[in-house]
Symmetry: C2
Subunit: 339 residues, 2 copies
DNA sequence: CACACCGAGCTAATCGTTTCGCTGTATTTT
DNA sequence: AAAATACAGCGAAACGATTAGCTCGGTGTG
């Protein structure tokens, strides 16, 4: 590899001058500058980011830890994040915790070891880890995404899960449904707990409550939702409407309905928070809330870059986004007599 | 941050000894070792990968450049790649070229600047760029994925596109279809060209050829496929069966069918190469080939790590995977009289 | 008893940059 | 004309680690 020294030698100048030329960090007379530039081009010299970063104490790297890369929601987040960090001049190092605290720990350790300038994390739920930013304000700037954990030291960007769920549930209630079931995610996550709570709240406000067997919580996974749905919907006392907590689960439920030959929305109404991008071909189209992943990701990175570049030490900010209800054809008014 | 010097001072030893302890690279007497370890724990010292990498001339980073992060196929590839590189002890830096040569160039430049130890690239098609590995064998080990470009210096991992397409087309032909159309990708890519060729070959072997208006090539995108399909299928002379070149495009076609109220497979048979993971809820289930993304990605990284770790300088290897035909319900035998 | 040898740890050079502070010259100010 | 200021460029010390080579006692051998 050709180094700055080679260039310096070739141009018969000092390395300091070469550095000044490539960084425009000091005045260099035109003729000299030209000579140096010629040497650079000639030797096809490219400065080593590594050495530069070691010296400057930064890495131009941003770590992204998502909870489940197989989930299209997070895949889309990677997409948005890559575009955003590239625009800011950083590169994105991606980690998948797969909902496992142990993996998350490893990822964060790696992020520290690589001296990433910042981290965007979808936490799997154990508060301890994120204390990167310790008491004295040291540590890697971190933004927590999507899920709230007990950490008053990081910025957070989340969605209002309770509102999302109750919005969807209210829609089902407005259609006349009262036997509403739910399939939600892990209750130790705010995305799981909050959505279930929102659903329960909405029903409670109308003096209703779901039947015990109609409330299920599992993992945010297609196959889990599929089996839960098959089991719940195969019984005679099945609900007339079902609230599903996220996009992949909704897909699992639709698959179960197809397999059980239960027509939707004729026999059952399905509504969910979150959806999968690009499945417009799926009929019936899902009634669901849509979450502004891209805006959320951009905002998260804006916060992060703020901290990184401005050494911003103001108290943590917590940005909460609101979901939007999008109507599909997966819900129908309750047919009298089917209760 | 605490450095190796701090630890050395705290333990009253030289930095060499500390280094020996953390790397197990030389014998250190038990008592001294203990003292050093205590100092390390005490100061919560973590060696800086950056400094270490600068010295050792590697970065423990692998760059991944995909052609379209918004495509679930590549999202899944990221998922598989992250897992694989983590298992090998590397971290994954992700780039999206978005099918634009300019972005790809930037990504590769960045990969070089970061001194990534290797690169896995889904090329957008211009051969020049990948000449990282120059004549003298220098440059970053690179594996080209999915698409073939004129570069005899890199390993490649691809799928047999021609076989995939002709397999699918033959299936349609076996069902009696003769008016078969196709919607494929950009013809400058082997994934586009090859699939179209495979389809044409299969027909040719039975003495058939598609009608000119039934052969369309566009981008590998849902919305593009949607509009092409709408246009092609809204006409009276539409084909009785349609071959679609990839998963997202198939989704777009299904959406077009839904919007046009053309029942599938009753009125038209749809078959594709590639599909989208996790859309089992979509009915009818698509008849398609499935591509072993995970195995392909693992294999690609195996090749890459081989080159990196063994400094393997053997001639480039080209691994070609075979797709598997999976039957859904999106195809039906040709109804007599509908030709 | 002198010799070589060995084991345990240290010194210092090195990786490829950036940057502080210096030098020697040229220009301006008094 | 002397003093002050500015300018262009250089030398060398960092950044935080690794590692070749050295030192310095202690042991084993002839």
């Amino acid at each position: 590899m050709t180094t700055i020294k080679d260039v310096a030698k070739a141009a018969a100048v000092s390395t300091a001058t070469v550095s000044a030329v490539i960084n425009d960090s000091a005045y260099v007379s035109p003729p000299l500058r030209a000579r140096v530039q010629a040497a650079i081009d000639d030797l096809k010299y490219e400065p080593s980011q590594m050495a530069r970063n070691l010296k400057k104490g930064r890495s131009q790297l941003i770590g992204l830890v998502v909870a489940d890369l197989a989930n299209p929601f997070f895949a889309r987040m990677v997409w948005a994040a890559e575009a955003a960090v590239a625009a800011w001049g950083y590169s994105l190092v991606v980690f998948n915790s797969d909902e496992k605290p142990e993996n998350e720990r490893k990822a964060l350790a790696r992020i520290r070891a690589l001296s990433c300038d910042g981290a965007l994390v979808v936490p799997v739920g154990l508060p301890a880890h994120y204390a990167q930013r310790d008491a004295e304000g040291h540590g890697i700037p971190t933004v927590l995404f999507g899920r709230i954990v007990e950490d008053r030291r990081s910025d957070t960007v989340t969605i209002d899960n309770v509102a999302a769920a109750s919005q969807v549930t209210n829609y089902l209630l407005d259609l006349g449904h009262t036997r509403i079931g739910s399939i939600t995610g892990p209750l130790h996550l705010t995305t799981g707990r909050g959505r279930l709570d929102g659903m329960l709240q909405a029903m409670q406000q109308r003096g209703l409550a779901p039947e015990p067997g109609h409330v299920r919580a599992g993992e945010f996974r297609e196959d889990v939702a599929y089996s839960v749905a098959r089991e719940m919907l195969d019984r005679p006392d099945r609900p007339t409407a079902l609230y599903v907590a996220n996009g992949v689960m909704a897909l699992g439920v639709m698959r179960a309905l197809a397999d059980l030959s239960i027509p939707c929305p004729q026999e059952i109404s399905i509504a969910s928070t979150d959806t999968i991008p690009g499945i417009g071909g799926l009929r019936p189209r899902l009634t669901r809330t849509e979450h502004p992943i891209i805006e959320m990701t951009n905002e998260a990175l804006r916060l992060l870059v703020d901290r990184i570049q401005r050494g911003d030490n103001t108290p943590p900010r917590n940005v909460v986004f609101q979901p939007a209800l999008i109507l599909g054809e997966s819900c129908a008014p309750l047919r009298r007599g089917s209760v």
